[in-house]
């Protein structure tokens, strides 16, 4: 009996620890941000949001993240295709290098881009003499976002291409379809879920990215100030409510995307 009681005590201990861990580590902080941004009343929240610096930073982030995700869908689909379909020297090396942007600390990624394209470098100098501004301007932000989200689309499309039954393609060819048509009607539909899913992940990650972006972004409102950098600035200047207000816009967007991805995955599984 005694040992049974002890066993029960352990079980309850473990159960409540895990539930508490969930609540304290994840649920409370997230609710805290929402609570804080409304803590000074709804009008105050609206005021924080309607500050042009705030909403323009959100719009800018959305636009740049969309550009970065689109670039990644195009590049990622091509690279996934090449890595799955062609055998060529260096393929295993390239395949391992895909994950490097995930493994590298984001601040290191930002520093790498800064060093490569910065004012003192070869490329930066050449661009400057041509009158192009890269670092501390929008191109560098997009490049940083593309770098950080590089693996998503590739890793989403690769397994789909590997699974694609070659006989489908062969059948299409045998029936006299031309290369482009086979691609459009057989291969592209097979890759589409990965392109969309990976693209959405890349988009939400680009929205949230801070480390790589903060090193190469500027602070001109509406032109080079992205929201994560804006939030950091608000935190630094002790404006918790302003930071929280912009945060919950971004958070709600990211949660929405995450939810959409989950719904899409469940649909896909059911089919």
């Amino acid at each position: 009996m005694n040992s049974l009681l002890r066993y029960k005590g352990w079980t309850w201990g473990f159960r409540s620890t895990i539930l508490l861990y969930f609540v304290v580590l994840i649920v409370l902080p997230i609710l805290g941000v929402y609570y804080n941004s409304f803590s000074l009343g709804f009008t105050n929240f609206v005021e924080s949001i309607s500050d042009p610096i705030a909403w323009r930073s959100v719009l800018l982030t959305l636009r740049l993240a969309l550009i970065a995700a689109t670039i990644n869908v195009a590049l990622g689909t091509m690279i996934a295709w090449v890595l799955v379909r062609y055998k060529f020297p260096g393929r295993p090396l390239l395949n391992s290098m895909v994950d490097l942007p995930f493994a590298l600390p984001t601040a290191v990624g930002g520093l790498m881009i800064l060093l490569l394209l910065g004012p003192g470098s070869l490329i930066g100098g050449a661009a400057e003499s041509l009158g192009l501004e890269i670092v501390f301007h929008q191109p560098a932000i997009v490049i940083a976002m593309v770098f950080v989200t590089f693996p998503f689309v590739i890793r989403a499309v690769q397994p789909l291409l590997e699974e694609l039954d070659p006989s489908e393609e062969e059948a299409a060819y045998t029936m006299g379809a031309k290369g482009i048509r086979v691609f459009r009607q057989v291969i592209l539909p097979a890759m589409a879920p990965g392109m969309i899913g990976g693209g959405m992940l890349a988009f939400s990650r680009a929205l949230a990215e801070f480390g790589a972006v903060v090193l190469v972004a500027g602070n001109i409102p509406g032109r080079t100030l992205v929201s994560s950098v804006f939030i950091y600035g608000e935190v630094e200047s002790d404006n918790g409510v302003g930071a929280a207000a912009v945060s919950i816009i971004l958070l709600t967007l990211s949660f929405l995307i995450l939810w959409l991805i989950n719904v899409a995955q469940m649909r896909g599984r059911r089919r």
Partner: protein
Amino acid sequence: MRRLWIGLTYLVFFLLIAAPLGKMITGAFGKGLSGFWEALTRPEALHALMMTALVVITVTLLNTLFGIMTALYLVRAEWMGPRLKSLLNSIVDLPYAVSPVIGGLMIVLLLGPDSALGAVFEHIGFNIVYAFPGMVIATLFVTFPLMVREVMPVLQEIGGQQEEAASTLGAYGWTTFWKVTWPSIQWAVIYGVILTVARSLGEFGAVLVVSGNIMNRTQTATTLVYQDVENFNVTAAGGVALVLAAFSVGLLLLMEWSKKRKEVR
């Protein structure tokens, strides 16, 4: 056609990954080997590397422990209704969607000096924000899904029958876990550990906000890189960044290795 695509792929890899990496390596040695060595042996750099190591070790231990337990409960527990299970299951992924800066902000808002909880802790002389505990909490938040999401699919795949058989034969909870469950999940756990180490080593946004980036006290390697860049000391930043990058590449190789082992089983 084939040549064109392969060539384009090589070009993308070169421009986006190899060139920046190469530039950083040469940048770190911009003032020669001694410059690199000096950047690393500055007192603040040594302290920052030590802080990073401490955070990585603490977070990896806690996250592994809680991650395995959470995964076990989410797959096996009968005491949770299916509704609670699926709710918790979707909560696990939330940190993925949270920007690191916002993750840090959450902890500052919840436990910072201005909050109710933070005031209580401060009163008893226990600082969380702008100190080590806050940095650990922030990193735990960010790394939380990694272990759970590695272990859960394996548990689902092996099913509960073997474990049930073991406990019917009279094995106690711990024995069942070590003799039956552990051997099948161990490679997933090792993979999860590597992911956690990599992520906590590189965590920047959340830690920057929570730690306050105080030199020689709460500064980690990544936040030191940031500060060096802000101070236009790019060579020093490159030195520290190179050490971080070397660790990451090492972890990436380990990841490939353990992925292969995981697949073999």
